[in-house]
Structure formats: C-alpha cells, structure tokens
C-alpha cells in the first residue's frame, strides 16, 4: 500500500492487519491511502475527497447515537477537522482507513453525547408516539435474498446479510450497543433482560459477525 509515512516498528501485525482488511475492498483502501498520504502534506482537496467518500456513512452512524441532525453534522465536521489537524492518528498498521474512521466517528459521537449530558435517548426504547423501539429503524431493509447479499462484493451488503443472520435478540442487543451508543446496563434495562444475558448476546452476536465477515474461528485458527 502506498503509504510513505514513517510507521512504528511493526509488531508482527502484518497478518492481523491483512485479516482485518479483507472486509474492505482493496481498491477503496488504495484510494483512501493515497488521499491520506496527500492529507499529511496539507492537501485540502484530498481531505475534501475523503469527506465526500466517508461523511455520509459517518453521518448515518452519528444520527441514531446523537438523535439530532445538527449535532450529528457538527460531530462529523469536527471529526474531519481533527483528521486534518492530526492525520498521524491513523496508523495503517491497524487496518483499513474506512474501518478506523468509523470507530473514531462512533467514539466521538458517544463522547459528544455523554458531554451533552442530555440523555436525549431516555425514551430510546419508545418512539415518539409511544411505539416500541424498532432496531429496523436504524438499518436498511435487507434484500429478499440474504444469500445473495452475503456473496456480494459490497461490504455493506455483506454486513447487512451477517446482521440478518443473527437471532432477533442478539441483533437487538448488538444494535442498541453499536448504533444506539447505550451501555450494557442501559440495554439490559431497556430490554428488560439480565445484564449477563445482554453481555452474552452482544458477545455472541459479534462472534457470529466476525465468523462470517473475517473468517474468525473461536479457537483462533483462521480458516480461509
């Protein structure tokens, strides 16, 4: 990958980084890497291109967490400003840029939410009209044929297919944690399930996703 920045001593993480990268299309990774390279030299147009490529997904991620369009827009803008000011915070050894950016975006949105201290989602489990919380609200409807989705080369399709394959309870707990930014005890309270059950459902859900998306095997052997 074209990345001329000086890197920390590789911690024998080359195979690990490769595994994590499988999920993201190589051509997308190459484009992002080239753009990040230009950002480190102070190229504003390159940052603009990264924004155009990734800001819509970042905004889709920040919205359910912050539940406020303006706040979410500001969160995304700050995210990219921060990337401009400190591009070195991305370490290409740790995996694909797209995945890293989404983790950063999510952390930032959750951080912002906590700082706001307006627990805006106090009524998270209940919609505006008192309708029960529906995790489908956060997700695009899966296409009729999950098998077709799973075989798609589009990462989003594959993630959707993997999410659909989870049990309803696993998916609900995992989506509240990931897309809702709720803590495990908050989820337990919302769903009226024991905390230990929620932990197990989130963990098992993540393991199933990893099995389908990265070839993860619980015993550590990596078949693929």
């Amino acid at each position: 990958m074209a990345d001329g920045r000086s890197q920390p001593a590789p911690q024998q993480s080359e195979p690990a980084a490769r595994t994590g990268r499988r999920l993201f299309a190589p051509e997308d990774q190459a484009i992002d890497a080239a753009l990040m390279e230009r950002v480190t030299t102070g190229d504003k147009a390159a940052l603009g291109e990264l924004y155009d490529r990734h800001a819509p997904t970042c905004l889709a991620l920040a919205m359910p967490i912050l539940r406020d369009r303006r706040l979410a827009e500001e969160c995304v803008q700050d995210l990219f400003l921060n990337l401009w000011q400190r591009p070195h915070t991305y370490d290409s050894q740790r995996g694909a840029f797209g995945g890293w950016l989404m983790r950063v975006a999510r952390n930032r949105a959750i951080d912002l939410l906590r700082r706001q201290r307006e627990r805006r989602f106090a009524d998270f489990a209940v919609g505006a009209e008192g309708t029960p919380f529906d995790p489908e609200l956060f997700l695009v409807d899966p296409a009729p044929d999950p098998a077709e989705l799973a075989a798609s080369s589009d990462t989003g399709d594959r993630v959707r297919a993997a999410l659909v394959s989870l049990s309803g309870e696993q998916r609900e707990a995992l989506e509240l944690a990931y897309f809702g930014g709720l803590s495990q005890s908050e989820i337990a309270e919302r769903l009226n399930r024991p905390l230990g059950t929620v932990k197990t459902q989130i963990r098992t859900g993540m393991q199933r996703l990893a099995r389908q998306l990265t070839g993860y095997r619980p015993d550590g052997t990596d078949t693929e």
Binding site: M102, D111, R114, Y178, M206
Partner: protein, 255 residues
Amino acid sequence: MTWQSETLIEMTCAEVEERLPLHALGLLDADEAAAVEAHLPLCPACQSVAVQFEAVAGAMPLALDPIAPDPAMRAQLMDRLDSGAPSAQVTKLPPTAMSPFRRLGLLAAAAVLLLAIGGGFWINRLIDERDEARTTAAMLQEFVSPNAVAMAMAPMAASEYDWGWGTSRLFKNPAGEMMLVVEGCPPTTEERRYPVWVAMGDDRTPLGDIAIGEDGSGWMMVTFPADIPAPEQLGVSMREGEAPLVDLFLGDMTG
C-alpha cells in the same frame, strides 16, 4: 488516602479473547480494558483476533443507509481547514532536554508491559541492556517492584480516537513516591506535553505537564499539593489551542 489498589489484572489468552468482542465496541469496564490492552502488544495471537473484531466494528456502519451531509457544513469545514493549524497542542522542547525523557519513557513503557506479564527476569535483562540508563532504570524497578502499587487510569473516549492504544498508569513505590507513566500514544517527530492535574470535586489543580516523546511514551514524578494530600481524581488532558482541555485519562483515587 485510599487507592484503587488493583494491580494490573493478568488475563490468560482465553480470558482476553472472550472480552475482545466487547472491547471492540468500547463496552468493557476500565480495569478490564486496561488488562486487555496490556496483553495485546505482547500476544500476536490475541492481537490478530482483536484486529478482526475491530474490522467488524468498523464495517457495521456500512450497513446503514448513508445520509448526505448539508453542503453548507462541507463548505464550513473547508473554511475551518485554513484556520485549523495542524497539531496545535504540540509544544517543542529544546532538543537537549528530550533525550533522557525519551530514554526513561521507553524503559518505563517496557517495564509496564513486562510487569503485566510478571516478568521480573525480563525487567532485569532490560536494565542490563541499558547501561547508561542504569540509575533511572533502578528507580523504575523500584516503582514496578512487587511492593509497589499500580493504578490503571481509565482511558477517556478522546484517548481512544486520538491515541489508538494509549494507556496510563500511576505507580507508587514503597517509599510513597509516585510516577505517572503514559504509553502507546502515536509516534511523532515532535515531543508533546499534556497537562496533568488533580481534582477535588470540580476544582482542578495543575501539577505540571507530562512530556510524550517520539516513541509515544512518557513519564513524570507526581507530588500532590500540600493542601490536597488526597485528591479525588488524577487526570491527563490534551490542550488544543485555546479550546477547553479534553481529558485523555482519569484516575479515581477514592475507590
């Protein structure tokens, strides 16, 4: 003063692997997260699994329908790029002042990691290999000796997105001296300085700055102010220009 005197929890690979799915989502308690993060740099197998769960966590938003940002926000961002000078929080030190900090910082970081696996032998070997740093290394050994107390400081969300794998710990040696060690920050070509403070309630009292060298680690001796012998919190923050401090690590001293 009471200490949250958890020395670092040692975890087996199985215990770490079991926690990696929740770690990737940022759902672990601070002490569990610290134990996982102490393990990962030393264990290629667990690190490989961690990267897989991180990739899954990073890919999940791609399942969402993208939302086009307001074009005005993009224009405003491009304007802000002009005023946002890169790395506003960087403070340069005279080059002569850097070397010993870095040397000790590196040793401290290594010692922290070695402590995590209980490797007294390796600490000694490390010290032997650093002849010119023998004095400081001896001091370090005292701080990471079995009689010393270590407090893992909780990483704030900001430290995760800015620092990736940064960790911070406060060591107290049997003589009662305290040393703050930060490691795992991204390597840079310039030394950075981050404010360290103690707090009672909302009142924060600065203790000075910790210098983070180009290897991404640093240390400082910590002395509590005479009028605050037992603070409630100890923190490391980041300063960006005139912006308010962003907390990177917080230690609750009242456990």
